[in-house]
């Protein structure tokens, strides 16, 4: 990994973490475990579409682990990891099929994958299949929040993509 790449991913992680911590201050709109805006995924999404899967994965993993530590919620790590990795996987698969104007589509599916991943982890951890009751509301939330973060990520890529991608003539 080049120094430039490390520095760039570190900056993106810092941005994602800041957004994550600020978002913690926003109270959840509905008392459903797992429902949140997920604004820091804007950064993951932008990293994926400008820099590629590996940088996106690095930013995601650093943000999830540090975010759980900073929020004092290590118990949430498992859910965030399973959700985040599944979401990134879906976005990586969809990336090749989409143009820069369709990033929001990947984000919607990615957000739903995130909620499914979290729920699977929760069911496994608590061994309570009754938790699948939350699947439909989580999917609704995924569509809405995924659309929002997806559009935000798309605008980020369109406005900042050139700066994020380059500067070293790669």
């Amino acid at each position: 990994m080049s120094m430039r790449r490390i520095a760039r991913d570190a900056v993106l992680t810092a941005v994602a973490l800041t957004i994550f911590i600020v978002e913690l201050q926003i109270p959840a709109p509905v008392p459903v475990p797992g429902v949140k805006l997920g604004l820091s995924n804007i950064v993951t999404l932008a990293a994926l579409f400008t820099l590629g899967p590996w940088d996106a994965l690095a930013v995601l993993l650093c943000r999830v682990v540090l975010g759980a530590a900073f929020a004092g919620n290590m118990a949430a790590l498992l859910y965030s990891l399973s959700g985040g990795l599944l979401a990134l996987g879906v976005a990586i698969l969809m990336r090749k099929l989409l143009t820069e104007r369709q990033i929001w589509v990947a984000s919607v599916f990615s957000a739903m994958a995130h909620n499914i991943g979290q729920l699977l982890a929760a069911v496994a951890v608590t061994s309570t299949p009754a938790l699948f009751t939350w699947l439909p509301p989580l999917l609704i939330s995924g569509v809405i929040t995924g659309l929002f973060t997806g559009l935000a990520g798309q605008f980020t890529v369109q406005r900042l993509g050139k700066i994020m991608r380059n500067r070293d003539g790669k």
Partner: protein, 114 residues
């Protein structure tokens, strides 16, 4: 396709959450293991139940016919904000502490029969 998933989810949510609970017995699970069972139909006075695990404490308040998490030392407090569990099949969950509260049938039927 997104619209179809959205519509199906809305329909399923309405179905699941408006579906009445099977009964008035609250079952409290920790880590998937039954911790306590409270027949809310038989309660006459409010009862406080402390669910203490190595992960933290949830204080439940059971009243005749309903139960809720009164306070908890988990980071997100989703379980407290969930409010009263009265007549819904959807469980209250405290994911950080792995505590699940749901309503089931069972003993309240026995009570009526006896």
């Amino acid at each position: 396709m997104i619209a179809v998933i959205l519509l199906l989810s809305v329909a399923a949510s309405l179905f699941l959450f408006l579906r009445p609970a099977a009964g008035h017995t609250a079952e409290i699970y920790v880590d998937g293991v039954l911790y306590r069972r409270v027949d809310l139909g038989k309660l006459t006075a409010p009862e406080r139940i402390e669910v203490r695990t190595e992960r933290g404490v949830n204080v439940l308040l059971a009243e005749p016919g309903r139960i809720r998490v009164e306070s908890a030392d988990c980071p997100d407090k989703v379980c407290v904000e969930a409010g009263w569990l009265e007549d819904s099949a959807a469980p209250i969950v405290c994911l950080p502490h792995r505590v699940v509260i749901k309503l089931t049938g069972g003993t309240s039927l026995d009570a009526e029969a006896g």
